[in-house]
Symmetry: C2
Subunit: 323 residues, 2 copies
Amino acid sequence: MQKRREIFRELLSKDNVMILTHKSPDGDTLGTAFALCRVYALQGKKAAVVCSDRIPVSYRFLTEGKIMLEADFSPDCIVSVDVADAKLLGDSFSGYADRIDYGIDHHPSNTGYAKKTIVDSAASSAGELLFDLLKEAEIPFDRQTAVCLYTAVTSDTGCFKFANVTPHTHQVAAELLQYGFEAEPINRRLFDISSLEQLKIEADVISRIESYRNPAVTVATLPFSLLENAGEDLEFGALSSIPRRIEGTVIGISMREYEKDAVKVSLRSMDDRIDVSAIAAVFGGGGHKRASGCVFLCPLEEAKKRLLDEVFRHYDRVFGGRE
Amino acid sequence: MQKRREIFRELLSKDNVMILTHKSPDGDTLGTAFALCRVYALQGKKAAVVCSDRIPVSYRFLTEGKIMLEADFSPDCIVSVDVADAKLLGDSFSGYADRIDYGIDHHPSNTGYAKKTIVDSAASSAGELLFDLLKEAEIPFDRQTAVCLYTAVTSDTGCFKFANVTPHTHQVAAELLQYGFEAEPINRRLFDISSLEQLKIEADVISRIESYRNPAVTVATLPFSLLENAGEDLEFGALSSIPRRIEGTVIGISMREYEKDAVKVSLRSMDDRIDVSAIAAVFGGGGHKRASGCVFLCPLEEAKKRLLDEVFRHYDRVFGGRE
């Protein structure tokens, strides 16, 4: 089997390269893609990053403000970064699914759809993996590349906050910061700044949070009426994480009425004894023990009542009834 | 002049050591103090951490749940950590001001009140400095010490988010994580978890945010009526940072009516051309160009009107009048 260093050197020897990111792009797929694109450019080669979806506001500094990314040339080589499954390329690039030459990824679930794949599931992020590959292959890069790689790493680790951070992740950050760019404005943009509209919707969700079982069961709801007139830059990730942020939450529930009488539910368990995938399964959903989801096709209030009945049944079985 | 390594070795040779933190304690002063305390204990010496104020909920894991910290022995040696000025010891320890043997600090403004002081203003945190001192002096320490040092560093850098983070800060984090503890629960507790009460008050503040000059001037207000019945664990840091989190904010203002008809104002400028200390000075306050404050002794609405008149005058002078 070809060593990853050799695959990477081969990949870098190509010209006219199209770099594919995953749909609903985040900072890791975009930062890694732009870092790789920059490395090609530094070697006088042609490369372009493409993505099937709109670029979220917080990452547009990577794309120099561009909202959509499309290549205006026919590639001789196609590389995907941070894409675990060809399905995740999104509709507009699904045609490329069996034409991908190289995949660079850190997801253990990578399906191996590319002709040659480099996967390292110990890496916090595709950005950390690309940094390692560049270092192993002794490829020099510049400050702008370091900015893109740092953005990838900080973005997939929640600014070094998540459990995927290893000592090596911090070593990579240390080496990247030595390129002399300012990381603080990047982190501010990714993690602190929101539109007033986004913050007001979050505030509205928080003001209507309901707590049960004193206060182990936390429910956040987002009715369709709030979303109907919302701007298209609204990000839902922050909204669904609200219940987990509340002290004492054991089961965190967020319910978003994404269309009238259609409710998407996300369930999170903070305790190994509560398996939320079993709750989701009752309503035709699924997922993992600690994170699962399901959908209700009924009004929000009705969905909440049906879901909570089931949640209380599970909770009370484990924790011994009403407190 | 005695080298810092020698001062540090001398300090570590003492027994019966009282370690003082600063008032309104944060994770850096507490984490560094408990790390040092642990190092003494590992060497079979007696040491205790003391603090003049209540320990905030998020740091009580460091103190094993203790809310107040007092030494129950008479010390032979007193060390302060992360305390720039003896005034910051707080009222109950002001009597120790001229009895402090050693100071370990990273504030360039350290007044040199201790008999011997080790200051390193390049360190992100007192925790980073203590790590360096332990390493220089080749003092081994254990996992629990590493947990305390990591807490100090992550806490003073906003989880590696602020401008005080250097490549060395990440190297220190990498070495500390090698002790094998889980950092994610620490960061979750410090940065993600809030009481529902805290979140609901933040949500209330956000729902009443006012934006002017489309939307460069952002005003968040916290009326006394909201605080009157609030629990004593409420933290105001998060509240005063809200205006700065809003996209487009150039002048971020937060106004907290801390007593009836008494309003504390915090002003932040996100643009070098706006000097908010000049605005604060008009009302008898002061501070820095980018961060200043003042107090109004009048109802909140009246204070807001008077302040905004002045803010608009400054803003319009720089940015050319109403947009």
